[in-house]
């Protein structure tokens, strides 16, 4: 059987940096074909070529055995290739129907909208989605927006469906539902390409897996035969060892949160009467199902949200609950927020500027009217080397050009370059691959060993268990249970559920 989609000898470079170096890929109709690899391995670039967004420097794209030169995304769609991007390509103020009409144009607007509405209802019913075609996209949840993207692609008649890290933005339950749907789609004869770096998804839902590393295809395997260890080794190159934990005596309390209450912007109280303390040389893990007030708590701690009442006490300045973020930073608080581009990086500024913004206030780069830009560039370059931020052509390039993992490393490089005494990290490894994840964990442990107090808020229980000295379980805005290391996974799970 000829593959539905076949890519051979694909090379592509962006401004001289090689993203793809002779990559090959082939997916058959009726299978879920996973494309596995670390951040920056070239998965997204390769699939963007398949979907007509990028033009390869060399190499061929063949659809059902026929070599094609795709002139653009519309051409790819006409040939039955549809891609759901990691960052959705939806027009937020438009309704669902308008968005789908935009991608699948009809001759007339009004009859087109009616036609699309019927199509959406039918397709949504088939897939088991609950989507109202007349709602505005900006009012939908992320999971619903993704469903709109999938319906959009299928209504366009796609026989080859490319999903770029579809579960990165979803909760576990949503992700499971999506992947079940994807399996059913494959059974109906669609070739599904699942771009991911999550091994368990590959093991559970894929019929075949192609592994990429450094812009090349390293192997194609049957995920039901290959062991997880084998796949990991192929993905990472050599398996990254777990960082060593040394037991250290605990110091004095550096951060104390007392009876903290926080509300969401719409007034809903999300953090209710939360109290905990963190000592020097300790990692305090906060586990819990996403949406139980972790985001609001993290924002309150880093100074991005005003608490309603309660105390956030830092060694040194004392209660800083209502104080601006600058005061916390001066007191040595480092923030690694979950949403890097909302709270930690200015995408359109250079890497050097993003690096310097944390310390420039202190005057270490000269007075405001005479900034020493050479020193900023020098320090940024040093930090980039020290923290292994990759994909940097120059420190003058935009931070938005970094891949997710490297952007996170840049945040960490900036925050840790000041030797913080208190670290607040919220989902620090979200969206990162194995190696980047290990690097982040290593940094957090190093900060703890240096005597910093670390608050680790994460929905990933494995991460919490691997790193924390003490674990609090957060449910409905309260800390409902606390465990000391070594904690029992089952017990923590029970605490999360019991109080929900």
């Amino acid at each position: 059987m000829t593959p539905a989609l076949e890519l051979t000898g694909i090379k592509k470079s962006f401004d001289g940096v090689i993203a793809l170096d002779g990559a090959v890929f082939a997916a058959k109709s009726g299978e879920v074909h996973a494309l596995l690899g670390e951040n920056g391995a070239g998965k997204s670039s390769l699939m963007n070529i398949a979907a007509g967004f990028y033009v390869p420097d060399t190499g061929t794209v063949a659809i059902h055995g026929e070599a094609v030169a795709l002139s653009g995304p519309a051409d790819a769609r006409a040939r039955g290739i549809g891609m759901v991007h990691q960052h959705f390509k939806l027009v937020k103020p438009f309704t669902v129907a308008e968005n789908i009409l935009l991608a699948n144009p009809r001759r007339h607007f009004r009859s087109g909208i009616r036609d699309i509405r019927d199509g959406v209802r039918e397709q949504a019913a088939q897939l088991g989605f609950d989507i109202d075609p007349d709602r505005r996209v900006e009012d939908l949840t992320v999971a619903e927006q993704q469903q709109v993207e999938i319906i959009k692609v299928l209504l366009g008649g796609a026989k080859i469906l490319i999903l770029d890290e579809p579960t990165a933005v979803l909760t576990d339950v949503e992700a499971e539902r999506l992947l079940e749907t994807v399996r059913r789609l494959a059974q109906s004869g669609v070739a599904v390409v699942l771009v991911t770096h999550k091994l368990h998804e590959v093991k559970r839902y894929a019929d075949a897996v192609t592994i990429m590393r450094g812009g090349r295809t390293v192997a194609t395997a049957d995920p039901r035969v290959a062991s997880a260890a084998e796949l990991t080794e192929l993905t990472v190159g050599q398996t990254a060892p777990l960082p060593d934990r040394t037991e250290r005596p605990l110091g004095t309390t550096l951060l104390n949160v007392g009876a903290l209450h926080c509300a969401r912007s719409d007034g809903q109280v999300m953090v209710a009467d939360t109290s905990f303390f963190v000592r020097a040389g300790e990692i305090y893990g906060l586990a819990g199902v996403s949406g139980n007030g972790q985001a609001e708590l993290a924002e309150a701690l880093i100074g991005a949200r005003q608490p309603l009442s309660g105390e956030i006490w830092l060694e040194g300045p004392g209660d800083i609950g209502a104080a601006p973020a600058a005061i916390r930073r001066e007191a040595g608080l480092a923030a690694i927020p979950a949403d890097r581009y909302a709270f930690a990086l200015a995408g359109s500024l250079s890497i050097a500027d993003n690096f310097a913004v944390a310390t420039i206030e202190s005057g270490c780069y000269g007075p405001p009217w005479l900034i020493d830009r050479a020193a900023i560039r020098r320090d940024a370059s040093e930090a980039i080397t020290a923290y292994d931020v990759q994909g940097v052509r120059s420190v003058g390039q935009k931070a938005a050009l970094l891949s997710g993992g490297n952007a996170q490393k840049l945040v960490i490089a900036r925050e840790f370059s000041r030797q913080p005494t208190v670290v607040v990290a919220h989902s620090p490894s979200r969206g990162l691959d194995v190696r980047a994840c290990a690097a982040v964990h290593e940094r957090l442990l190093a900060a703890r060993d240096r005597g910093a107090a670390v608050v680790l808020i994460s929905e990933d229980l494995d991460e919490i268990l691997a790193l924390s000295d003490r674990i609090g379980v957060m449910t409905r805005g309260r800390i409902v249970a606390e465990f000391n290391r070594p904690a029992d996974r089952q017990e923590i799970g029970r605490a999360m559920v019991d109080h929900a």
Binding site: P73, P93, H108, F109
Partner: protein
């Protein structure tokens, strides 16, 4: 007093028309995501082209207005290539086009000796018998043809934006060019098209001032109306009908200025002349104070689009 009111209101459509056309033209181009500050300049181009046509081929005002539209569209290609192809900062490009046009129209007017030569222009027509209705007749049904034309044009643009495939695509380009690109649209082509078509309305607005209202070319005669139109678009939240309402409001303010002197009311002249700009300022402050600064604003306004940029 009644005469004062009727005279004043009868004048309003004529003073409002340039604002209305200019704002509509700006809405078309800004809905595609291009921040367009060229209004003042392209209106001058339309104005000089209109009068020039009448002085050259004889008094054919409708031909003159078409030439005005074409002239503005052609000059707008300069702006389009600057911002869409070369991706120059849209504010800088807009301002430089205004200065370029101010110089160019002044030069052409002087070289061709079109300065201060009155033309017959376009006159008002009375729609009988509606024009004989007391009060309302003189205000609504004794106007020039272009004012009447404004109504179907507004309907057409409004339907185009809200309920046509092309309008949907144009708005998508302005809201989220990456999504439009993914849908297979050429962002550059749509933006160039929107600038050129929108600019033809700016040319019409300028031509209206010189051919229909003043019936004369004077260097710099647009006199800031283009800038007011830019503000009007923000006030109207990029929607055609509110823009028409805003144009009428400014038409009222501008129309009252000469009436006040004619009615023998004594007021400091410069203070009176200042009112349109004062009103603009007031409107902008009001819009700002409502704290809905970005509502209705096209999502990608002022942002150039490049496809092969990783994020």
């Amino acid at each position: 007093m009644q005469d004062f009111l009727i005279n004043w209101l009868a004048n309003v459509p004529g003073t409002a028309a340039p604002y209305a056309f200019a704002a509509l033209g700006l809405i078309i181009s800004e809905r595609s995501g291009v921040l367009n500050l060229t209004a003042e300049g392209l209106m001058l181009v339309g104005a000089v082209a209109g009068v020039g046509t009448c002085l050259t081929i004889g008094n054919h005002p409708l031909v003159a207005l078409v030439v005005a539209m074409l002239a503005a569209s052609i000059v707008s290609l300069l702006f389009a290539s600057l911002v869409v192809i070369l991706r120059v900062n849209q504010v800088i490009a807009g301002l430089s086009v205004v200065f370029f046009c101010q110089g160019l129209t002044g030069l052409i007017g002087t070289l061709a000796n079109w300065q201060n030569h009155p033309i017959a222009g376009l006159n008002k027509i009375a729609i009988w018998p509606l024009s004989d209705i007391p009060v309302i007749g003189r205000i609504l049904f004794v106007q020039d043809p272009i004012v009447y034309l404004a109504i179907p044009i507004f309907f057409a643009v409004s339907i185009f934006l809200r309920g046509s495939m092309l309008g949907l695509k144009l708005r998508a380009v302005g809201e989220n060019p990456a999504a439009a690109d993914a849908a297979g649209l050429s962002v550059s082509l749509y933006r160039i098209g929107a600038i050129v078509v929108g600019s033809s309305l700016l040319g019409l607005a300028g031509g209206y001032i010189s051919v229909v209202s003043v019936k004369l070319w004077i260097t710099g005669m647009v006199g800031g109306r283009g800038w007011i139109a830019v503000a009007l678009v923000v006030f109207a939240r990029w929607a055609p009908w509110p823009a028409l309402a805003g144009a009428l409001l400014f038409g009222c303010i501008e129309g009252v200025v000469p009436r006040i002197a004619a009615a023998g009311i004594r007021a400091p002249q410069y203070l009176v002349l200042m009112t349109p700009y004062l009103a603009t300022l007031a409107v902008m402050i009001w819009v700002g104070a409502r704290n809905r600064g970005h509502q209705g604003e096209p999502g990608a306004l002022g942002q150039p689009h490049v496809r092969e940029e990783r994020r």
